[in-house]
Symmetry: C2
Subunit: 556 residues, 2 copies
């Protein structure tokens, strides 16, 4: 590659090999699959960002490949390489910093002595969005917006985050009382300030909320609370964005617009007859995102529609608070996996105390995970779920007996695949499955046809008395945000956001080899999507931030 | 030692050797100097806490000795050893954890899934100090109280911090605008959550304040703001402590009382005729601790009494804000050292990016610093100051020419010695010295005899017009807090707090080999003192917390 010979460089790859690049050579996030695609990508890349040095730094402590460093004309990166019969089977290249524009960390940290840091900081914060336009406007101040804001702050790119809630962290704080992260702590660190080492394995939602609030403050993010984004218009290579800040209308003029409104930000209400009128007349009907927690429903008959994570958590919360009767209405099979099994068999290899002890830092874990081609993921995951099915046979038998429909995804590739394809459809069991088995959570299969003020009516015509109805029916595609805030035309042009194009249910093709439209340029100039879980917010915020930094440097 | 033979163990030491123990063998903080004292300490120690294993883990990356691990019957510790002609010249032993009572970190972290973390946490916080008595009451919520509170929280010892200010961090926030730490960032980390790596070398005071506030929150400390401690009475092996919480009187009944009111917490006003009446009649007279910053004194004639850190900083702040005339009144010589020189020649070896790159973690740096016997410190520091005098000869010559009296301490052992002896009397130059040289800060030697409403009158009879007078005259001994809050008798019994007993100015003997009464049992049962800079707050909070934990376990 240093010689600029794409054909010979491509021959170093296995014919069925993969090259995934995170911004280092393509300025984009993309996976080239098989040798001809790799060669084509190389040809384009070598013409612009010639690599200058490659250095194999040794076998990965994760034990499945080699780590490497490289430089290009403009930046420095790290990579991950797996060999197959002496050729590259998978290569990951990831940009880490731009030459001359490194983050001011370690030896580059500022000196700090100045007349008044707080006066300067206050002035800067007051001016951004009023006197000075932000270069980047981030809509949504959850973990995604905050992580990206932190990256851009360190890179010196003026960015403003707008959040409709009153406090940073409220997107977690306002959820139901018993909510905990279902991903373990080692997976969940924010960039730059990892959790201290006594942080619980599964973080309670208010603890995450407090952490995000303090993080926003100490990272000096420009973060407007109580600010709702009303709409955005593409104008002159940038954007005009109308917001309501503390109920005052204001127009912002950023160059780039990032929608970090959350994969789980656009509540999906099923079209159910009577739901609106029951709600309008003061009846207890919620989407899971609004559910205030089970304390107020003691003794009541409760119906929860759905069988993914929120449905399970809300049912368990209601049971624990002494609801009179809790019924889960299952519409379709869900993946259920015991948290412990997932920890031991899946996460633990990269994200755990044992992994840390083996030298697998969070960064190496992230790289290793990113190095697995999406195409190969189902094949690699299936044996894992076979093992889980064997090990937890008792659980699955008991769930079946209780009438619960479970599967491991339509191709048996499990939870991680399903998350990437649909972002929904699973439950990591931290206790609710046993409640189903014990009958403390009753189970009904079917779908809800209608509501009246006393009951839900199922598709088999039966009537189920319900004082409370919760629709844990998930969230719409992130592109709905683009449709709502910008225009249906722009949303249409951009296409679906998230999903791989796997042609499985709810993930229509064509195959893209990457998560669609995530952290990368879209068909709408200067419009970006950012989101996902804490791991993705942490890791991919870097590559999105670097893409924005490059544009900021080029004045585009 | 594992054989319990004190005489033979003592013979392994150089006859002029030292053994410093941090709670591991003596349950106290003490240095045994020379072989007979070491043997006596060993005899006492071996009778109670027999060591079971010793393991040399290798040469210290700091390059001046060996690191080791050991276990005793009850705990695990680490140590540092310097050899001289095959025998131990200096040995440091430091307890790190109690067997069976390790901090819940890493593999011991909690699981996290519970009905509601925030409800439980709120209930616990409401009950401590009202329904349940804290085992430890910490008076003062600056970095010292906060670091100790964090240690005790992780150790499961119920502790309550009371702070008179409205917000955690206010003890920094309320100081003059331009204040920055004069210690570099690598020295200043709090326990458990280090600063991110872009944190400035010299932290602005509001940035530290914000960090402490968020730290208090995310570490879940029980921290009462707007709570003033009025007085404390020893009662039945514990304490009765009257506090005003949000102006409501309340009596707390802790078993242990920790005064973490700050080494710089008790303003020392010199007895100057007319000061009180000038202040009473609305004249501008401040102690440095109350000085609000230079912005309000544009064009005014300003007099600052003192020539240590605050005096320099306040003079510089006034000059930068356009005061009409700024005069420093120097009463006695001060140590002045350029920040850069100190960084390169002193701090940098243990606390810097280079040190980190060499594998000298914060913890190893702290241990190495703690391993140097106080007795040896002046001898080790003198050559350093000789080098500084040589390297910065230009600065010192210019300062002399401007009339500034400087020295390197009465025995030439410099700033670190003086800090340990008196906690005052020096300036780490970050710019004010050049202002003195340039005449932007005028200099007068002498002392202030009296004030009237227009001027200060010096001891040579001269009258210096002064619209503003600031007494940067330092702080009283921490034992004044004991006198004020408990009783003069208790303060007298405890004796001076801080200082080594070096028999130099303001540090009367006898020699104690340790900082007097700091982090260790005092003559008053269950009364403790905690304080110092961020490094000391970080490092010594562990040993104080372990002493309190042992007592909590023993129910005493």
């Amino acid at each position: 590659m240093t010689r600029g010979d794409a054909a010979r460089a491509a021959d170093l790859f296995d014919p069925a090999g993969y090259w995934r690049d995170l911004v280092a050579f393509t300025g984009n996030i993309q996976t080239a699959e098989r040798r001809p695609a790799i060669r084509a990508t190389l040809e384009r890349a070598l013409a612009t960002v010639s690599p200058t040095t490659w250095q194999l730094t040794g076998p990965s402590p994760a034990g499945d490949g080699f780590l490497l460093r490289f430089e290009t004309r403009t930046g420095r990166g790290i990579g991950h390489l797996r060999l197959r019969e002496g050729r590259a089977w998978t290569l990951l290249t990831a940009l880490r910093e731009l030459k001359g524009h490194e983050e001011p960390a370690g030896p580059r940290r500022p000196h700090g002595v100045e007349p008044s840091w707080s006066d300067r900081r206050r002035r800067e914060a007051e001016e951004l969005g009023t006197v000075r336009h932000p270069y980047v406007l981030i809509v949504g101040g959850g973990q995604g917006g905050i992580a990206l804001g932190a990256r851009l702050k360190r890179l010196g790119v003026p960015a403003l985050i707008v959040e409709k809630n009153e406090r940073a962290g409220d997107s977690w704080r306002k959820r139901y009382r018993s909510l905990c992260l279902h991903d373990p702590v080692w997976y969940d660190h924010m960039p730059y300030i990892p959790f201290p080492d006594h942080w619980p394995v599964f973080s309670p939602k208010d603890k995450i909320a407090d952490w995000l609030e303090m993080y926003t403050r100490v990272m000096e993010l420009d973060y407007w609370t109580s600010t709702e984004c009303l709409n955005a218009r593409p104008v002159d290579g940038g954007w005009e964005v109308d917001v309501l800040r503390n109920n005052q209308p204001l127009t912002l003029r950023p160059t780039h617009l990032v929608l970090a409104t959350g994969m789980s930000g656009f509540p999906a209400w099923p079209r159910v007859k009577g739901a609106v009128s029951r709600k309008a007349s003061g009846g207890l009907v919620f989407h899971s995102s609004e559910f205030p927690g089970g304390a107020a429903y003691k003794g009541m008959k409760c119906v929860v529609v759905g069988s993914s994570t929120s449905a399970h958590d809300i049912c368990a919360d209601l049971v624990e608070h002494g609801a009179g009767e809790v019924t889960m209405i299952q519409r379709a099979p869900s993946i259920v996996v015991r948290s412990e099994s997932l920890m031991e068999l899946a996460w633990g290899r990269l994200y755990s105390e044992q992994a840390l002890a083996a030298g697998i830092t969070t960064d190496i874990a992230d790289l290793t995970l990113a190095s697995v081609p999406f195409k190969e993921l189902p094949g690699l995951q299936r044996p894992l779920y076979a093992e889980i099915a064997r090990r937890d046979a008792g659980l699955y038998e008991a769930l079946s007996k209780a009438g619960f429909l479970y599967d491991f995804g339509e191709d048996g590739s499990g939870l991680h695949s399903l998350y990437l394809r649909r972002g929904a459809g699973y439950y990591i069991d931290v206790g609710a499955s046993q409640m189903i088995i014990d009958g403390r959570i009753r189970l009904r299969r079917g779908s809800v046809e209608a509501l009246d003020n006393r009951a839900v009516i199922l598709n088999d015509g039966s009537r189920l008395p319900a004082d409370l109805v919760v629709f844990a029916t998930g969230y719409g595609n992130m592109s709905e945000w683009a449709a709502k805030l910008i225009s249906p035309e722009v949303a249409e042009r951009v296409g679906p956001v998230w999903g791989l194009g796997s042609s499985t249910k709810n993930d229509p093709g064509p195959w893209e080899g990457e998560l669609r439209n995530m952290w990368k340029p879209t068909a709408q100039p200067n419009l970006w999507f950012h989101g996902g879980n804490l791991m993705q917010s942490r890791h991919y915020s870097l590559y999105l931030a670097l893409q924005l930094k490059m544009r900021h440097l080029n004045g585009s």
